[in-house]
């Protein structure tokens, strides 16, 4: 139990003033009265030496809303992660959604020296640079498209679009044939070993190829590579950039021009990208650069945006579904035709709820930001 003492101290959990603001703003707490972040802190601060198992820890979405309002910015999501890690250390199995398919997939990727066939989707028109100084980290997009085919999810379209925009912006990049899952979901689930296996393998590969800069379009991969890898592996290895941050300055300077897209859209701030890493403006800048596009903000948005209800493939229950429903209601209330997402998980989870919510006729179309931007290029501005 003392193994994690310093890690727990670093979350500043002892500074908790017990004020309860987190409980009020937590989306899970709104729908599941048994989930109370403040009480989780109280229950788990000192019980760790006994065989106390707190079931509630699996319901956290890692959406950072508690942190946003907390007087001391206590890192509650990190505290949950440590509790989950301790549970797994004790030998208990982790809670997994989707039958554990994604976790097994990640373990298999790390374990067996497999030669993945993960780049078969790459179209011929996308240009790769010769060296590996800058790479684009794809993430689990190919796997998601397989897993969630029945939801009509097309993450790879977003990836391809982002790559085409990279080409268009003259930002050179290469792709890794042996890229492994970033491992963030395993880390958040408490499976530190699984995460480390993936992380170390990835970082060795980066070293081997001389990677200096990594661009990615998945907010989770971005967070993992930028923050988690440095924290857990103890060193920096490359500059990590989110794709909109690479593209937005070129829109400002006029070096990149996007096309025309006459639509009314609204934008879902991904929790990890927004509250987690404070990137709110560059995705909006890209939307703003589309001629004819009208952006209507959902209420709430930006720092207080509502989570899409995704966890790290840990838990999916009634509360998650209700959160997704609420977000879709907020999106529909804007009158927009398109709900733009900038995260594979947002796309997957919102589309899933949409299916059971409106059946065959969804009231708002869910599309990826990069896909939208790339489509505008088919209709160049005058």
């Amino acid at each position: 139990m003392t193994k994690h003492k310093q890690e727990i101290k670093d979350t500043r959990i002892h500074l908790c003033l017990d004020c309860g603001k987190c409980t009020v703003v937590c989306p899970v707490s709104r729908y599941d009265p048994d989930f109370n972040p403040r009480l989780i802190v109280q229950r788990n601060m000192e019980h760790r030496n006994r065989n106390y198992e707190d079931e509630a820890i699996w319901s956290c979405l890692n959406c950072f809303m508690c942190l946003e309002r907390c007087n001391y910015r206590v890192e509650f999501p990190e505290f949950i992660r440590i509790l989950r890690t301790e549970t797994l250390d004790k030998g208990r199995g982790a809670q997994c959604s989707h039958g554990g398919a994604l976790q097994s997939m990640m373990h298999l990727m790390a374990g067996n020296k497999l030669k993945q066939r993960r780049l078969n989707w790459l179209p011929k028109d996308i240009k790769l640079s010769g060296q590996y100084e800058t790479i684009f980290f794809i993430g689990c997009a190919p796997y998601f498209d397989v897993m969630f085919k029945d939801l009509g999810v097309n993450i790879l379209d977003g990836v391809k679009s982002a790559l085409r925009l990279m080409n268009r912006s003259h930002i050179p990049f290469n792709l890794l044939a042996d890229e492994l899952c970033c491992g963030r979901d395993l880390l958040l689930q408490g499976d530190k070993e699984g995460f480390m296996a993936l992380a170390q393998a990835n970082v060795s590969e980066f070293h081997r190829l001389g990677v200096k800069k990594i661009i990615t379009s998945c907010p989770e991969c971005y967070y993992a590579l930028k923050i988690d890898y440095q924290k857990m592996l103890g060193k920096t290895f490359a500059e990590v950039v989110y794709w909109t941050e690479a593209v937005a300055p070129l829109l400002d300077s006029g070096e990149l021009r996007l096309g025309r897209l006459k639509q009314k859209v609204t934008y879902q701030d991904p929790c990890t990208l927004g509250r987690g890493l404070r990137i709110f403006d560059s995705p909006r800048k890209i939307l703003g650069a589309l001629d004819g596009l009208e952006l209507v903000e959902m209420q709430p948005n930006r720092e207080t945006a509502l989570c899409c209800g995704a966890s790290s493939w840990v838990h999916c229950g009634a509360a998650n579904r209700q959160i997704q429903d609420e977000r879709l209601t907020q999106a529909e209330a804007t009158g927009a035709e398109v709900l733009v997402t900038s995260c594979p998980k947002c796309q997957i989870h919102l589309k899933c709820t949409q299916q059971s919510r409106n059946g065959k006729r969804p009231r708002i179309d869910i599309q990826d930001l990069a896909s939208l931007a790339a489509r505008s290029l088919d209709q160049e501005a005058g």
């Binding site: 017990d18 004020c19 707490s29 009265p33 007087n71 001391y72 910015r73 207080t304």
Partner: protein, 818 residues
Amino acid sequence: MAEDELRIGVFVCDCGLNIAGSVDTEEVRISAEKLPGVVVSVRNRYTCADPGQAEIKRYIKEYNLNRVVVASCTPRLHESTFRKCIADAGLNPYLLEMTSIREHCSWVHLYDRESATKKAKDIVKIAVARARLLQPQQEMEIPVTDAALVIGGGVAGIQAALDLADAGHQVYLVEQKPSIGGIMAELDKTFPTMDCSICVLGPKMMDVGRHPKIKLMTYSTVETVSGYVGNFKVRIRQKARYVDETVCNVCGKCAEVCPVVLPDEFQQGFSSRKAAYIAFPQAVPSAFLIDMEHCLGNKPVACAKCMDACEKKCIDLHAQDKITEIEVGAIIVATGMDIYDPAQLDEYGYTLFENVITSMEFERLICGGGPTEGHLVRPSDHKTPKRIGFIQCVGSRTENRGNPYCSNVCCMNTVKDSLLIKEHDPDAEIFVFYMDIRAFGKGFEDLLRRSRDAGVRYIRGLPGEIREDPVTKNLLVKVENTTTARVEEYDLDMVILSVGLEPRADLKKLTTVLNLSQTSDGFVMEAHPKLRPVDAPTPGIFYAGCVEAPKDIKDSVTQAGAAAARSSILLNSGILKGEAIKAIVDLEKCNSCGVCARVCPYGAMKVDIKAKTGAQVVTAACAGCGTCAAECRFDAITMQHFSDAQVLAQIDAALEANPEQKIITFLCNWCSYAASDLAGVSRMQFPPNNRFIRTMCSGRVDESFILRAFEKGAPIVLLSGCHLGDCHYISANHWTMRRADKLWNKLEKLGIRPERLQLEWISAAEGPRFAQIMRGLEEMRQKVTPEEISHARKALAEQKRKAKEEEVEDELSDAAKV
């Protein structure tokens, strides 16, 4: 004094068995006799006792001594005793060198008599080396101007002014607003007594206005302050009121006819005033004024309706600001605080939802003199609110938008407010959402009990969000009741945000003018938080009220009394004597570069960089830290009584024999030296290889001292001082740190291992840590090889030689130019 004229007497103390028990004091006495300049060496049993002192005086007369060295306990204990002693015998008290062979030797090396004795001999040798260079000093006598300036006319300033004036001193009270009264004048009632605020303050305000010894300057600001304790020169700007306050009879006709309507700041913007206005009915001075910023103009005069309406003809639209220069001996800063603005807390909807107001706004709504004449109504529809919520800790106790500290008064203010509402409407439902209720003062718990007894509900939990009903404009407050662990939603008519207090936004201006420091919370820093709570570190300046930290009226008034008393001590003394440790500038060497002025924590160095007239020391303000002397690149500054020559002589004496055995340690008088004393008193043991050199401040330690130590063969040098932020001389140890950084680079370039120079911040309480550091240093010393030492000696000697050559070359080329 010429070498052969020196007649040094050394007095070695047995201190009973405290010293003699572990040091052979006779041996020490004998070794002292052989030192150059020493004419007599004496051993006493108890030097500080009457017989011992009598003996010193006898020897001074008999041997015609002109320098005295006492080797006994710590000078921090008895330096003043022996100074008085030799002064009695006709010697200048600054011709005494006192050194510790007890706390620094006998008590910390109890079990190694031979080494302890050897060290004691060295200590005496070092002391004699300094004594040879001591000069007689005169303590400055500064006359004190018997007048005080009080900046700020809130209740603290008012109280301080009255106390000082009643004690017979002339007081200048400067207030920025058109009237004195401050925040207290804006409150309805005060806790815990539920007194009407302006009713108790009003008479005090009148007293100030009437007092023959108080010159009240309102609508005025302090522009510049120069001088030093006892002799401040202050320039004050009195803004033009455009109304002669001595004539105005507050008839109010000017305001009636004035066409300009503005929000009334006194009423928190709930009602309006005119450009011609009086701050509030009970204002002192009791007179109207014209707000020229919003008046239709006086260049040319656009309107003049006020002039026409004035019966007393006391309006002059072409009045000018007046500059006054005054001389005072003491300054009391009582400028108060600002209220936290909760607009940035989007979850509470302040300024978005009409019925969310701050506690200050509530004061005006419930006050009989307020915009609604004391009828509590809510802003959206002016109906009486029946369900009211208070949210505590708004802007306080947070690192996330707001201030980290607790604002002291908000809990009790809410308790008081809840009772006020119940007084007006016993059926009102009141909820207080809190994290902790701080009811620590006299009568506070009782007031809280009354509030609960009246049915006010205290819910433990802070709301996470407020939503507004678009039709009723009611507020839906969502909060987790942490006692029941359930999230509850309250439908309230009005929400009052119990906002915290902050330092004034324009405090920086004042602290710059007065050379004051701020703590990390932004309030002004006091000299010592426990023992000198109303003194500024700068002598002659005192604090009262919320400028120093958030506090209630009782504490402000108490503090004001304290500040007045301490000012009074200063003003009554007539003259001030300062210890003679001051900086002196050699104008021939001075380059007017301005570095000394920049580093002086007291602003005691004045340099005109452009005019190149040389640095001027404001001797009375100089605290003697010596940072200027250490930073001066041109060696133009000498510290009286702690000169470069004296310190270098001590270093040379310490390292004359067996330098590789010795660790040179620089101790600052206030912290690290005190720590060494504490280690001694606690009998902590450590190896006897250290030789201590005392300076008043670690900032005094010049780069050349440290390099000299290495040049003379020291294996390790320790530079120590107060913890950062705790420096006795406010900020001088920051310069020490920077100097150390530069030195490490320099040492590395010279091929000397930088770790041989150690830097430690040691507080006076850290006796055990001091001993531990000493032990650590000895371990380090043993790892320093003879080759390293000799390399360092050569490298530094070489550098010195080169520098001398360049100097000679420069002189020659200068001469050639002429």
